[in-house]
Symmetry: C2
Subunit: 244 residues, 2 copies
DNA sequence: CACGAATGGTCTGAGTTCAGACCAATTTAC
DNA sequence: GTAAATTGGTCTGAACTCAGACCATTCGTG
């Protein structure tokens, strides 16, 4: 028996091979993107055929998802050339009531997301700082940062914050990291809807954003990572506190 | 137009909603686990009903996957009580010939995996070091480490190395990190099959493993992370060199 | 030996997903 | 104003996946 030491591994490793049905996954991904502000209010989603191709899903399945989003009031659709599907969802304001329904499993998942975030977001920031960014990219980053500072409170600010973090992830140019940050921001967004955070922290948070941006633009990976770690730590401490 | 700055995000963010069909995903996950040594030669897989439940897949689908693994010679199955499915695959020795078929896309994916690894594995090591490990866990870690040092060359050593890294990930107790490390080790394994590495590096690698283990057992997160970063950097440099 | 328990093997009917062709509405180009 | 292009809307038959019941084989227990 060569490998009895591996006894504990299958236990930890075997995980669901995929989450749920294809159309549910589409609803979730598109809904999340809309709520995070990747597709802001009034903007158009890609055409069905393109979207289906992007998500590796048949058009029929994608359309089921679109119907769900339409029914939920997130988007509206018009036909013909120049038509398409447009975002109609106004950013929601956090409500404390949702916090009551937090199960133990979800709580555990949220805490895990905070740990994970503190690994992947600083990693993405460091990677972004390490690359030679084009002028276009540098501008995108500065723009995303400005929008956070100038966004209204509280819902638009939340979306702008998500976009800021996702923009940094995109700068890393690592598909795996981009996916990791997207998934973690989605969970974070869910948490923040259930656990409203006070305005007081926003100024602090914005100062930390500025530090991260400076480090990335200056090409200082270690500094960028450290700055993002501080930011994640502070946010996490706040959320863990409110989670009890 | 509130969010024109987000123009670049959908481009980077929209990703396939799921990889492939369920049974292909099962084949991949189980095949990977077997090749990585999570299920060593001669060990038994969990019973079909349990595996199906674990992978969130119907038994019918799981059985299709099992049939594929059986046909590929990775496992053998016997019936009746005390029967089950047993691993028959001997660890493969790397062959240089496979390297010829590396497409540009795959090459890009491999390089991404190296970047990603350098983020998630040090993160997992730090998290593991930060937790209060039970005696059982400490022993599992030491055991996994010893096995790497004592494993035969080259294929069993490769498996033991995977198990070692996966063990550290499991110690982090973060489902997201465990999945990240599993996925990255799978890609790494694929790379190492195509790009054989010389024995010379193994001694160096083992010394780095020892440093990581010491830091984790001593409860020094920063030290553990740094040590794992060095290890990832050295492995990555080697592989990038051989990839050209 | 007989029975129970655990395992893989088989079957069925319903629901999901797919690829692709085709229809309908609308705007743009000429 | 007409034609082309682009978009969403609809339909079909095949393949995949599911849940669950039931069968066959083997081992341990009494």
């Amino acid at each position: 028996m060569t490998g009895s030491a591996a006894q504990h591994l299958p236990e930890a490793l075997l995980r669901p091979v995929r989450g749920h049905h294809a159309f549910e996954a589409c609803v979730e991904q598109l809904g999340t993107a809309i709520r995070l502000g990747v597709f802001p209010l009034g903007s158009a989603l890609p055409a069905e055929r393109e979207l289906a191709a992007r998500l590796h899903v048949s058009r029929a399945t994608l359309r089921e998802a679109m119907a769900a989003l339409r029914q939920a009031g997130l988007v509206e659709t018009t036909r013909g050339r120049g038509g398409g599907t447009v975002v109609t969802l106004k950013p929601r304001t956090p409500s404390a009531r949702a916090a009551l329904r937090v199960t133990a499993v979800k709580r555990q998942d949220w805490l895990d997301a905070l740990e994970y975030r503190r690994v992947v977001e600083p990693g993405a920031a460091a990677l972004a700082a390490q690359l030679e960014l084009t002028d276009v990219r540098r501008e995108q980053l500065e723009r995303a940062h400005e929008e956070v500072a100038h966004a209204g409170r509280p819902a638009p600010h939340r979306q702008a914050d998500s976009r800021f973090h996702l923009t940094i992830a995109a700068m890393s140019e690592s598909p795996r990291l981009i996916e990791a940050v997207t998934s973690v921001q989605s969970t974070l967004h869910e948490m923040l809807l259930a656990i409203p955070v006070l305005d007081t922290n926003i100024a602090h948070s914005d100062r930390q954003h500025a530090t991260v941006v400076r480090a990335i633009l200056a090409g200082r990976p270690d500094r960028a990572r450290k700055a993002m770690e501080n930011h994640c730590d502070d946010t996490a401490a706040l959320l863990r506190g409110l989670l009890g």
